[in-house]
Amino acid sequence: MTPLLSIEEVSVSFSQHKRSIAAVRQVSLAVAARECVGIVGESGSGKTQVFMAVMGLLAANARADGSVRFEGHDILATAPEHLNRVRGSKLTMIFQDPMTSLTPHLKIGTQLAEVLVCHAGKSWSEARIAARRMLERVRVPEPIRRLNQYPHELSGGLRQRVMIGMSLLCDPMLVIADEPTTALDVTVQAQIIELLRAMREEVGTALVLISHDLAVVAGLADRILVMYAGRIVESATAVELFRHAQHPYTAELLKCIPSLSSPRLERLPTLAGQPPQPGDSLPGCMFAPRCSRAAERCRVERPLLAPTVGIARHVACHYPLPP
C-alpha cells in the first residue's frame, strides 16, 4: 500500500549572513492512512521545519531539498496556487499558539465558514451551518454564541478546539498538529488530547503529532520518531519505544522526564551538556559529545538510520542499547 504522505531525503536549510544553516538533514518518513505518528525532539531538532516544508510554509530564507509526496502530488515542486488545492482541505495543520493562529479581527463563525467557501465551494449560508455543526463536534459549549464571538473572547482551550474544528472542516486525510497543547494548562491539555483521540476515531484522519513532550505523544501516537540535530535517530511503535529505547538519546530523554508515577528522587536525572545549535556539524554522531556510550567510531563515522529488531524499529546508532 502506498503511504498517504511520503517524505524522502528532505533537508531544510536557512541562509543567514551569507551562511547556510542546516535545520533538517536528509529526513525520510512515511505516514499511512489513519495512522498517528508522533514526532519528538527538543527545540532546534528540526521537527517543526520538516512539516513546514511539507505544508509549503517555510520562511523566505529557507530552502528545502528532497521529495515530499502527498496523494501523488510532489509538494516541493508544486507552485503555491496549485498547492492550495490540497493544503487547507486534504492536508491541514494545527499550530501551537491558538491566539496567533486565528485572525483577531474576524468572528469565529466567519473564519470557519471561509474555509468551506474557499476550499469546498459552499455558499456562505451553507458554510455557516456546517461551521456550527463542527463546533458541536469539537465539543464547544454554546456553539451559536461562539460563532459571533472574536478569538480574544475565548479561552485558550476553546480557541484550540476551534482550530481543531477548522482543520477538520474539509474532511482532511492528514492533520499535522504542531505542539497543539504546549500553550495550554495541564487540565485543558488533557481535554484537548482526549478530543484529538475522539476525532481520530470518529473521522479516521491520519495525524502527525509534533511535540517536545513525550508524555503527550505517548497518549496518542501509534508510532514515534525521535529527532536530534535535524535527523531522525530512532523510530519505533509507541509501546516498543517506552518499553525499550535503543538510542542512548531516547533512553536519556525518557529518564529526564519528571513523572508523578515514579518515586521522588533526591536529584532529577539530567542529560549532560547542551543540545546542539542549528548549523552545528560534526563528522560523526551529533549526540556523541553528550553520550556516555560514545566510542571513537561515533566521533568519525555518522550512524545511519537502520532497521533493527522488528519491522517498525530503526535506530541511528553504532552501539544501540541492548534489550
Partner: protein, 332 residues
C-alpha cells in the same frame, strides 16, 4: 532538600493579601507563612494568580489590601529607601531567561549589578572575582564574563539569571516558572542547581510552576491556587498522596504519564471546562467544573480550613469526600 526549617518564627507572613487590576481582582484573601530554608511550590492554571502573588510579595505590583510581613517588617508599608535595603534579601528568577537580561549589558555586568548596589565597598577586582566565582558556581566558566546574553542558549541564560539572583546570598528566592521555557534535558540541570544553591546558602524559595512533577521534586509544602485564591495548602507528600480540594484532584489526574499504557487513566480524569465565561461572583469559583458541588457551594465561599494537621483546603465538602484513588505512585 535537607535544609533545616525553623517552625517558630516565619520568615514571611502573608495575611489577607488582595490585588486588583482595575475592576478585576487577581488575588484575594491570600494568607500563608513561609519559614527559613523552606521551599513552597505554587501551582495553578494560567490566570489563577500565581505570578501576581509572587510579584505582590516583592512589591513589584501594588496590593490593595493585606500585609506582607518580612522578618517582622511589613513590606507593603515600607518607604522606598527601606524597601530597597530589604530587597537585598529578596530576589527573583523570571520565566523567560533571555528577556530578563539586559541585552546591552555583558553577563559580568549583569551579575555584578547587585554587588554595585549593595556592596559598594568592594573594589573592581574583588567584584570581578565574586562574579567569576559565581559563574563557575552556576556551571558556566569565568571566561564567559564579557559575553552578551544573545551568545548563550536558554538554559545558560537561566543560569546567568540565577547567578544574578544568588550573588548576594538572599534569604528568599522567588522562581517564577524558571524551567518552563527550557527543554526537558535542561530542566533537570537547572532544578538541581537551584537545590544545590539552596543547600549551600539556606535560601527559602517560592517556586512557581505548572509542572507538578517538578514542583513535587523540590517543594516542602505546596500551595494550590484557583481563580485568585488559595484552595489547598499541604505538605508535599500529603498533597500528592491524598489531595482534598476537587481542583487539586483534577490537576493531579490531568498530568499525562510518560507511558503509553496509562491512556485510559488520563482520559477519564479531565474535568469539563466551564461552559460560560461569566465570572463567578458568589460561592466557590470552582463549582461550575466540580463533580461534587452542592447547593451551599453556590452561596458561600468556602474558607481555608485545616482538615488534617498541616493540610488546609477550601472546600465545603472537604471532610466528607472519598479519598481520591491516586495513591502515592499513580499509574504504576
Amino acid at each position: 532538600m535537607n535544609a533545616v526549617i525553623s517552625v517558630s518564627n516565619p520568615l514571611l507572613r502573608i495575611t489577607d493579601l488582595r490585588v486588583d487590576f482595575g475592576s478585576h481582582t487577581a488575588l484575594r484573601d491570600v494568607s500563608f507563612d513561609l519559614f527559613a530554608g523552606e521551599t513552597l511550590g505554587l501551582v495553578g492554571e494560567s490566570g489563577s494568580g500565581k505570578s501576581t502573588l509572587a510579584r505582590a510579595i516583592l512589591r513589584l505590583v501594588r496590593s490593595s489590601h493585606g500585609s506582607v510581613v518580612w522578618r517582622g517588617r511589613d513590606l507593603l508599608s515600607c518607604d522606598s529607601r527601606e524597601l530597597r535595603a530589604l530587597r537585598r534579601d529578596l530576589q527573583i528568577v523570571f520565566q523567560d531567561p533571555l528577556a530578563s537580561l539586559n541585552p546591552r549589558m555583558t553577563v559580568g555586568e549583569a551579575i555584578a549589578e547587585p554587588l554595585c548596589i549593595f556592596e559598594g565597598a568592594l573594589n573592581a577586582r574583588e567584584r570581578t572575582g565574586r562574579v567569576a566565582a559565581m559563574l563557575e558556581r552556576v556551571g558556566l566558566t569565568a571566561h564567559m564574563i564579557s559575553r552578551f546574553p544573545h551568545e548563550f542558549s536558554g538554559g545558560q541564560c537561566q543560569r546567568i539569571g540565577i547567578a544574578r539572583a544568588m550573588i548576594l546570598s538572599p534569604k528568599l528566592l522567588v522562581c517564577d516558572e524558571p524551567v518552563s521555557s527550557l527543554d526537558v534535558s535542561i530542566q533537570g540541570q537547572i532544578v538541581n542547581l537551584l537545590l544545590d544553591l539552596q543547600r549551600d546558602v539556606g535560601t527559602a524559595m517560592i517556586f512557581i510552576s505548572h509542572n507538578l512533577a517538578v514542583v513535587r521534586h523540590l517543594s516542602h509544602r505546596i500551595l494550590v491556587m484557583y481563580a485568585g485564591r488559595l484552595v489547598e495548602i499541604a505538605p508535599r507528600d500529603a498533597l500528592f498522596a491524598a489531595p482534598i480540594h476537587p481542583y487539586s484532584r483534577a490537576l493531579l489526574a490531568a498530568v499525562p504519564s510518560p507511558t503509553p499504557v496509562s491512556r485510559t487513566v488520563q482520559a477519564s480524569a479531565a474535568p469539563v471546562e466551564a461552559s460560560s465565561s461569566q465570572p463567578v461572583t458568589t460561592g466557590c469559583a470552582f463549582r461550575g467544573r466540580c463533580a461534587y458541588a452542592v447547593a451551599v457551594c453556590a452561596i458561600t465561599i468556602p474558607p481555608l480550613e485545616e482538615m488534617t494537621p498541616g493540610h488546609w483546603a477550601a472546600c465545603h465538602r472537604g471532610r466528607e469526600l472519598p479519598a481520591s484513588g491516586l495513591g502515592t505512585f499513580r499509574g504504576c
